[in-house]
Amino acid sequence: MDALERDLVAAAREGDRDAFRVLAERYYRRVYRMLLAMTRDPDAALDLTQETFAKALRGLPEFEMTASFHTWLHRIAHHAFVDWTRRRRIRTPQALEDDARPQAADEQPFPVGPRPPGDPADAVEVEESLRAVRAALEALRPAYREILILREVEGLSYPEIAAVLKVRPGTVMSRLFAARMALRAVLRERFGMDVGGREG
């Protein structure tokens, strides 16, 4: 925590709602985008973001000033996401696959890798690839999707992810490995998208 953040947290702990509002505004975009990546639902993301900040404000008296505020906030968001996945009825894999299929008639596998800019057809292919990846992420177990977002999108270190998920760093590594393997398998089996690596 920087000095300003420490002051804001201290003031908010004393009941200064305006100080907490400044803190919330600091983290708002980051928390919203993370929850959007996890839920793929803008309304749910906003709802969970509000829930995260409300719980954070209520829980501030228990926050230890020596801890990292953003890791603590991520942890509250993690709980909100877990509760949401329990409440939500998971969509069927077939529906997800339909979402991700290219609208055009051709069923060519999606290419991966850098491509020369400028060709509109390439732009369409890239967007289709990204759409497939989004659908594949959604098809993953929530725990896999979450750890991939925390690592690849949020850029949290392994110790930070371990603190957010309350697991050991070794578990973070093995879960990340399993999540990547699962994502690769879904991309290949459902969308014909080969990311490379060894067979199996």
Binding site: Y32, L36, A37, F53, R58, V153, Y158, M173, V195, G197
Partner: protein, 155 residues
């Protein structure tokens, strides 16, 4: 740069740049980099519209005005459920008791020979990727890829 085998942290740092490339793992490294890039690009595009903060804060204020759930509410609901549908309450309770008994029996079982082994280890903050681990075949080695932060940025 990647290595085959186990190295002490000091040896790894000293060997930086003189290790033997392992072509067998090059595909794995590329795959992880591709997957990382795809997830980053696909998860939340930069152009994604974020609702105004005031809209979010209004919802936060509304939630804060709502009373916190009372601790007794769940207990009252459970009592009502027990009266209406006792099997829905008693079945999980029975399952928990059975699980507890099995747990005690498992905990007090005769100790098996340990299959633990100890390897050199090193601590890193980031840049470590678990490349290969087969929980069903614990005798197989675990492969870990570590790259310096500067290399990770390039990926």
């Amino acid at each position: 740069m990647w290595f085959r085998g186990i190295r002490r942290r000091k040896a790894m740092l000293e060997a930086d740049g003189v290790g033997t490339p392992d072509p067998a793992r090059a595909g794995d490294v590329r795959m992880f980099r591709d997957l990382s890039r795809l997830v980053r690009d696909a998860a939340v595009p930069d152009a994604t519209a974020v609702p105004p903060f005031d809209e979010c804060w209004a919802g936060v204020e509304r939630r804060l005005r709502e009373p916190e759930p009372e601790a007794g509410t769940a207990l009252r609901g459970l009592r009502g459920l027990l009266e209406r549908r006792p099997v829905l309450v008693l079945a999980p309770v029975g399952a928990m008791v059975l699980a507890a008994v099995i747990g005690v029996l498992w905990w007090t079982r005769p100790a098996l020979p340990s299959n633990q082994c100890f390897v050199d280890s090193y601590d890193v903050e980031s840049g470590t990727v678990l490349i290969d681990q087969d929980p069903d075949r614990p005798e197989r080695p675990t492969v870990i890829w570590h790259e310096a932060d500067s290399q990770e940025e390039e990926g």
